[in-house]
Each structure stands twice: as structure tokens, then as C-alpha cells.
């Protein structure tokens, strides 16, 4: 699909570029005449890029793609450049990789995992952005942003979007119908789920099609069962995946996903539901599912693809504590990287580091910006403000999404590594030891041991 589409897209793009080029040439003299007057007002990013085409690839589709398009429109307005968005599907590396090999990378890509930034930087395919956005990153973000976007001390990525992954979303009507309150502990959660099931709705809606929602669920559980210190050790593979803490977490997870009556569509249904589907089915009529274990961005899908309203029909509670664990937040994020040394690409990277760019999406909902200059009152509703606030409040106890920190083949490849093994686990949640063993051998291989 992508190959054909790409070919068509490339032809169209080059035709468009030629058309723009000729029109720019013919209008060239006019520009010279009143060149000074044409200068775009506003920030430092406002270089004149009329006639330039900037291509950007990201994993977003549907509502998220539409919102990002608004951000890009803002850039186009400022600079006069034409921006083309390419949706890369779930596996951005598999989309960008061949284009780099073919010598025609998109100018900018947005990678959903620092692990991917690392592996591409390691191959020498990323362009250093210190001179382009280094100052913006230091001025507009907290100290963690530079570290997260750097590989071996060199800045490659602008942290454009943050994710707060310790939220659990629910259908308010179903909770009211079943007469349950948002739980705060794992035991309460299981009771709530049982009551909702008695009420006649299969509670847990999990999009296990590709597997990343399962890895986020596991990480939230692990962070609470084992604590932040061990979490860091596991993330760095200093302790093996066969560690008792991993097995304990898998046991908790088996309690949660092991009962077919509590899983919307049973495990085979979950396996064929993608992330967007797992959200929309909860707010369908009649609802198929009531509870979604995923981050703040669920809100964006709810307001973009369902009739439900965030705050009245949909709400979230914090991921419940397990055995009295302290509050902890799992974070994630998307990094913009530069793949082609073009004026348009550089300007876009610089633009994405500004609060103005972030505020466009912030206002649309389903988006948390790690940019500290972003005005908190810009969040469209109390719910997303709350999710953003939780991330800010958590400060040091925020842990970065574990699977995203792994080498790509272990942490973020469809059908392999953590994603693939946890899908197997969903099919047979009784095999705790086998699952831990499989994770360990996959990790060992990825770490080259």
C-alpha cells in the first residue's frame, strides 16, 4: 500500500514543487521590489519559505492527524511553505527506513519512542539540531527534555508531545448505571469491573491488535508492583525479565485480563481491536466495554471520533495503587527529528519547539505539551488540564515508558519483542514463567548478549 501511495505521492509532490517553483520564479521580481515589506511578522521562526515543500512523517491517523495538520497549517501560514503530512501507520521506522535507503527521506519525522531516535542516530541518519533548536529547547522546556532528545550528548530530537500514560478512562454512563465509583486500589478496580459485568457490560476494553497498549498496561503495573528504582533497572536491563518482580507483575496482569467475562469481546476480540477501536467501542451505543487503560491521548480520540463529551460522558481516574504503592506516573512522548538538511525542515523543527506550535494542538484537546511556556489555561477542558497537571506534579517520580526505551526490535516492533510476547500472554495468561522467559530471551538478543 505504502509503496504505491508513496510513488503517487512523490510524483504529485514533485509536480507540485515544479508548479510552485515556476510561479515563484515568475513572481520573483515583485518580491524583490517590496521584499522588506513582505517580511512575515512574529517570531524568529518566520523565515520566508514560499515555494518550499516540507514533508513530515508521523504515526498519527484520524483525529490526531487532523489536529497535527492544524499545527502544520500554522507553520505554513508563518513561512509560506507547503507542508505535506505522511501518516506512517504504527511502525514509523518501517516507513522511514526504506525512504532513507532510497535517498528520499521526509524532511522531518516524529518518532514516538526515544529508542527509535537512538537507533536512527546510531546509523547516522539524523541531523544534529543543536544550532537549529538548541536554544529553544533550553528556554522552553524543563531540564529533562534535552536529555530525552539527545543521543550521547548530541541533540537530535525536539520533545513535541508528552503522554501521561497513568490514566484509566471510563464511560460515565456505564459507571452510573452500574452504581460504581472510580476505584483507587487494584482490589476496588476488580470489584468495580465485576459489578459492571453483572450490570451487563464487559468492562475492560483493550486494543491488543498491535500490542503497545498491553505493554503500557504491564509497565503501569510493574511501576507499582516493583517501584521506580527497580523499574529503572529493568529498563536498562540490569535485572533480567525472569526476575520475581516481573513474574509478580504478570500475575497481577493475568488477574486483570485473564477473565474472559471481564474483557470486551473476550481475548480474541481484544486481539483484533486496534487502539482507536478500543476507545470508540466504549462510547458506542450500546457500549461494548467501559474501561480503557491508556494515556491522556484517549481524550483526543473520544472527542474526535465519538459523540461522547470529555468531562460529562467520559472521564478518567488515576491508575489504581497496587498493594499500597505510592502514586507514580508513566510518561511517554513524541520527538521531532530532522532527516534532510533542508531550510524547510530546519524551520519546521524550530517551529515545533515553540509554545505557539504546541498551543494550537493543546486547544484542540487530547494533547499534553512538555513545553513549560505553554499556557495551562489553553487546555480545552478540566479533564485534560488535570492530566497535564498530574504530569507536572509528579516531577521526579515520572518514569519514561519502558518499552519505548528499549532497542526497536524488542520494544517497538509489530509482532515482536514485548508487543508480540504480551499478545501471546493475552492468549494464555496462565503461562507466567514462559512469558517471563520469552521476554528475557528477546531482551538478551536485542541487547546483543
Amino acid at each position: 500500500m505504502t509503496a504505491t501511495r508513496m510513488r503517487i505521492a512523490r510524483t504529485v509532490a514533485s509536480l507540485a514543487a515544479i508548479a510552485l517553483l515556476t510561479s515563484a520564479c515568475s513572481g520573483g521580481e515583485d518580491l524583490d521590489d517590496d521584499g522588506a515589506a513582505v517580511e512575515t511578522p512574529g517570531s524568529s521562526a518566520a523565515v520566508d519559505l514560499s515555494g518550499e515543500t516540507v514533508e513530515v512523517a508521523a504515526v498519527w491517523t484520524g483525529a490526531e492527524q487532523e489536529r497535527f495538520q492544524l499545527v502544520l497549517d500554522g507553520f505554513a501560514e508563518q513561512t509560506g511553505a507547503t507542508v505535506r503530512f505522511r501518516s506512517a501507520g504504527d511502525d514509523v521506522a518501517a516507513y522511514v527506513g526504506p525512504r532513507i535507503e532510497g535517498g528520499d527521506p521526509p524532511d522531518v519525522a516524529i518518532f514516538p519512542q526515544p529508542g527509535v531516535v537512538q537507533s536512527f542516530a546510531g546509523q547516522g541518519d539524523l541531523i544534529e539540531i543543536e544550532d537549529i533548536a538548541g536554544d529553544e529547547v533550553d528556554a522552553n522546556y524543563g531540564p529533562g527534555a534535552r536529555k530525552a532528545g539527545s543521543v550521547d550528548g548530541t541533540l537530535y530530537g525536539v520533545w513535541f508531545r508528552a503522554a501521561q500514560k497513568s490514566t484509566v478512562w471510563y464511560n460515565v454512563d456505564v459507571f452510573e448505571g452500574a452504581g460504581v465509583e472510580p476505584p483507587t486500589t487494584f482490589e476496588e478496580l476488580q470489584e468495580v469491573a465485576q459489578t459492571i459485568s453483572d450490570y451487563g457490560v464487559e468492562p475492560y476494553s483493550i486494543g491488543a491488535d498491535v500490542g503497545w497498549p498491553l505493554s503500557d498496561l504491564f509497565e503501569n503495573i510493574y511501576l507499582r508492583v516493583a517501584g521506580p528504582e527497580m523499574y529503572d533497572q529493568l529498563a536498562a536491563h540490569e535485572i533480567p525479565w525472569t526476575d520475581q518482580s516481573v513474574k509478580d507483575s504478570l500475575t497481577v496482569m493475568a488477574d486483570l485480563v485473564g477473565d474472559e467475562a471481564l474483557l470486551a469481546g473476550g481475548s480474541s476480540g481484544a486481539e483484533q481491536t486496534d487502539f482507536n477501536g478500543s476507545v470508540t467501542q466504549v462510547f458506542a451505543d450500546p457500549p461494548k466495554g467501559a474501561i480503557i487503560f491508556e494515556g491522556d491521548f484517549v481524550g483526543g480520540v473520544i472527542s474526535g471520533e465519538t459523540n461522547a463529551k470529555v468531562g460529562t460522558d467520559a472521564d478518567f481516574f488515576d491508575f489504581p495503587s497496587i498493594d499500597g504503592s505510592e502514586p507514580a506516573v508513566l510518561g511517554g512522548g513524541d520527538f521531532a527529528v530532522l532527516l534532510a538538511d533542508t531550510e524547510g525542515g530546519k524551520a519546521l523543527i524550530e517551529y515545533l519547539a515553540t509554545p505557539e506550535a504546541a498551543e494550537i494542538w493543546v486547544a484542540e484537546g487530547g494533547f499534553i505539551s512538555p513545553n513549560i511556556k505553554v499556557d495551562p489555561s489553553g487546555y480545552p477542558d478540566e479533564v485534560s488540564q488535570r492530566a497535564a497537571q498530574a504530569l507536572v506534579d509528579a516531577g521526579d517520580s515520572v518514569r519514561y515508558d519502558l518499552s519505548d526505551l528499549q532497542p526497536t526490535e524488542f520494544g517497538a516492533t509489530t509482532g515482536q519483542g514485548i508487543w508480540g510476547i504480551l499478545i501471546d500472554f493475552l492468549r494464555d495468561p496462565s503461562d507466567i514463567d514462559g512469558t517471563a522467559q520469552a521476554l528475557e530471551s528477546a531482551a538478551k538478543k536485542a541487547y546483543g548478549g
Binding site: M1, D198, D209, T408, T413, T414, G415
Partner: protein, 431 residues
């Protein structure tokens, strides 16, 4: 003799001149990439270190590639032979029917669609939800006739002690004597499937010489209420079938009223088991998981057959047209029936054509990629994996070009025998 050699020698320049462009092209776009891949397969992921045959060892030990190889084997065994057989059947049939051109066009049509569009179409056909997927909608239409869904699919007892499983349905744990009452509480009934005429459930009123009972939804909207007790706000379940069972045999059956009440009259003295038979709880057809781990490869093979049967039919029909009619007539005159003529005359005469179709399809199937990528959902992509897909994912997803090249070389080796066969046939035909 002498003249011939001179002639040839004089021509060799011209020959070389004419061949040169083709040779250069072949060398640049076929031979060079092959040798480059073979060389590259002996180096590590980013090509900096010579690793010998390590990539090949990895290839034959990693579970992902082993699944891919196993699936390619399944593809090669089933897809080409089924397509060829179906093409033969269509070709022979279209010779006989009046609307043969229309039929041929219909069968050949899928060839005109790109594999990707065909893949997307089949992905929709195979959707698990019978409301979305054509295959399951068709299966559901049949299944629901023979196993009509019950009133209360998925319902569970509100009190596991009071109601227990019995012959696929549920039965009260305590037998009821004549003049007694039974309360059968259920939960997990979706709000939208509660019958519209349901009203507040009532305590069963005991009757002399009969058994009264209530079957109700033991769950008040908004929660609250105690399990096993008919609370205010809990609805009766109308239209539920209840059976009175004695000595293992169904003695009488009744259907509940809008308030959930039911009565058995005219029973003989004794004690009875109150049972809600299986039919009440039968789930509506939920759809076959075509794209689940077990069925995904056969499902994709079916879509492949749908696309390629037309190609096989057209080629075989052309071969069929070339068979001398007299031979067929002669065998019919000799007393052969249609099956014998087909089996003993038509098929042997068509054998060369069938072989070409078959071998071409084998080569094609070994390289299968797009259908698997498009049709298999992410969760089943490992189970549906094939060598070409694994190659692409390894080289361009994980960016291990060493292992990717090794897979490419392996795929080439698999295709070579089939290519050699086709070349030999080609040469035999020329001579």
C-alpha cells in the same frame, strides 16, 4: 564449413554490439544486486563487521523466520495446486456453457484489481463482527437458523450457590416441593437487551398443588440491592423458559410473565428441580475469528485463489482450445464417458500447460508479501508471516541489512529450481 566459420567470426562484433545493452542492464539491475546481497549477507547489521555465516545460523534458529518458512511451505503446497485445479475446472466448464464469456470475465475480473485493494477488501470480508464482515454475516445467517440465540445470552446467576450450571443451562440448587416457591436471580444482562415489557419483579406467591417462582434481573440500575433478594427497582425477566425436572426428565415447562413470575400447575406430589434450559442463554453467533492465529494463513490463501484462479483459467483454456477436437471425438466414439475422456485424454494433453501454470504460481507464491501485509491484523502478523515479509521487516523495520540479505538469498535459492524448470521447458519447446 569454412564459409560458416568466417561468417560467424565476422558477425561476432555485431552480435556483441547488439547484446551489449541487454548485458549491461542485466548486469546492473540483476547480477550486481544478487552478488551484492550475497556479500552483504555475510556482514552484520550495519555492514561494518564480517560475521561469516552467522546471519544464516540466526535465520534458521529464530522462531520468527522459522514460522515464516513454515508458512511459505504451506503456501507452496496448497496455493498453486488449488489455483491450477480450479483453473482447469473453470476452463473445461466454460467450454460447455452458453454464457462462457460472461463467466470468464467474472472469474478473471479480480486479476484487474491491485493486490492491495483486493487485500483491503478481504480484510473487510473477514472482519470478526458479523455486522461488519461478509464472511461472518453469511455464516451467522446459517448458524442463527439452526441455533437461534436465546433471550439472555451471557447471563450469569447472581448467587453462584443458589443457581448452578445444569446441562448447559442453570438450575436451582435446592429442589422445590409442591406448594413451594423458587427465586431465580440472574445478572450480566446488557441493559439494551432487557425486554421492553419487563416490570418490577414480585415475590412468588405460593399456590396449593403447584410451584410458583420468579426469574428476575437481580441488579437494580445504579447498583445496590442484595444478591438473591428481590429488591425494589429490580425487573422481572419476561419470556424466559423454565422447566420442572424430576428424575432427570422434564415434566413440565412454563414461560415467565412480564414481572418474571411463572407457575407450574397440576404436578404430581414430589420434589422438582427448577431449570432454565440452555436455549435461554445461547449466545448470538459471534463470528468466526478468520484472522485469528489459527485460520489466518488459510484465509489469506483463499483470497489469493480468488485473485489467481482467473489467470489459470485463461491460460488453461487457451491450451484446451489447441487440443485437436478429433482426438476427443475419437475417444468418445470409442465409448469413453465424459469423465474418462477428461481424465485420460484432456488432462494428459494439457499436462505441459498445467505444468507451466503450476510452476509460475509456485514462483509467485514463494514471493508472496502484499496480501499477508494487508490482510493479517497486527496481532496475527507473526502467525501469518512469510519469508518476503520477514525480509522487509528485518531489513527496513529493524534495519538489520545483514540478516535481511541472508533472507533474500534464501528466497532466491528457493525460487531457482522453479526458474530452472521453466527455462528447461522453454528450451525443450524451442528445439
Amino acid at each position: 564449413m569454412d564459409g560458416a566459420t568466417t561468417k560467424r567470426g565476422g558477425r561476432s562484433w555485431a552480435v556483441a554490439l547488439f547484446l551489449a545493452p541487454a548485458l549491461v542492464l542485466l548486469g546492473a539491475i540483476v547480477m550486481y544486486p544478487i552478488f551484492f546481497s550475497v556479500g552483504r549477507s555475510l556482514f552484520d547489521a550495519n555492514g561494518s563487521k564480517f560475521v561469516g555465516i552467522e546471519n544464516y545460523q540466526e535465520m534458521f534458529t529464530s522462531p520468527a523466520t522459522l514460522t515464516a518458512i513454515k508458512n511459505n511451505l504451506i503456501w507452496v503446497v496448497f496455493a498453486p495446486s488449488l489455483v491450477t485445479a480450479l483453473g482447469l475446472v473453470f476452463a473445461v466448464l466454460t467450454e460447455r456453457i452458453a454464457w462462457s464469456t460472461a463467466f470468464k470475465v467474472a472469474i478473471f475480473m479480480p486479476m484487474a484489481i491491485s493486490f492491495l485493494s483486493a487485500g483491503v477488501t478481504w480484510r473487510l470480508i473477514y472482519e470478526q463482527d458479523p455486522d461488519l464482515g461478509l464472511a461472518n454475516a453469511a455464516a451467522g445467517a446459517v448458524v442463527n437458523v439452526f441455533r437461534p440465540p436465546g433471550e439472555l445470552p451471557g447471563a450469569r446467576p447472581s448467587d453462584e450457590q443458589a443457581l448452578r450450571a445444569s446441562e448447559g443451562g442453570l438450575a436451582a440448587s435446592d429442589p422445590v416441593d409442591l406448594g413451594g416457591t423458587a427465586t431465580l436471580g440472574l445478572v450480566a444482562i446488557p441493559p439494551e437487551s432487557i425486554p421492553a415489557d419487563a416490570v418490577q419483579a414480585v415475590e412468588p406467591a405460593a399456590t396449593d398443588g403447584g410451584i410458583a417462582g420468579t426469574v428476575w434481573l437481580d441488579f437494580a440500575p445504579g447498583g445496590g440491592g442484595d444478591p438473591g433478594i428481590i429488591d425494589q427497582g429490580e425487573l422481572g425477566l419476561p419470556g424466559v423458559e423454565v422447566e420442572a425436572v424430576a428424575g432427570g426428565a422434564v415434566v413440565a415447562s412454563a414461560t415467565s410473565a412480564p414481572d418474571g413470575s411463572f407457575v407450574f400447575d397440576g404436578l404430581e406430589v414430589g420434589s422438582y428441580e427448577m431449570r432454565l434450559p440452555e436455549g435461554n442463554f445461547r449466545e448470538p453467533f459471534g463470528g468466526i475469528s478468520w484472522l485469528g492465529p489459527t485460520l489466518v494463513t488459510p484465509a489469506i490463501i483463499v483470497s489469493y485463489i480468488w485473485i489467481w484462479a482467473g489467470f489459470a483459467m485463461v491460460v488453461i483454456a487457451a491450451g484446451l482450445a489447441a487440443i485437436p477436437r478429433e482426438t476427443l471425438e475419437a475417444s468418445r466414439v470409442d465409448g469413453g464417458n465424459e469423465w474418462q475422456v477428461f481424465r485420460r485424454v484432456t488432462v494428459p494433453l494439457l499436462a505441459p500447460v498445467l505444468a507451466v501454470v503450476f510452476v509460475t504460481l509456485v514462483i509467485n507464491v514463494l514471493k508472496i508479501f502484499d496480501l499477508v501485509l494487508v490482510i493479517a491484523p497486527g496481532s496475527a502478523q507473526r502467525d501469518a508471516n512469510v519469508i518476503a515479509l520477514q525480509l522487509w521487516k528485518t531489513a527496513f523495520g529493524i534495519r538489520d541489512f545483514g540478516l535481511g540479505s541472508a533472507l533474500a538469498v534464501f528466497l532466491l535459492l528457493l525460487v531457482l529450481p522453479a526458474m530452472a524448470f521453466n527455462l528447461r521447458r522453454f528450451r525443450a519447446e524451442e528445439s
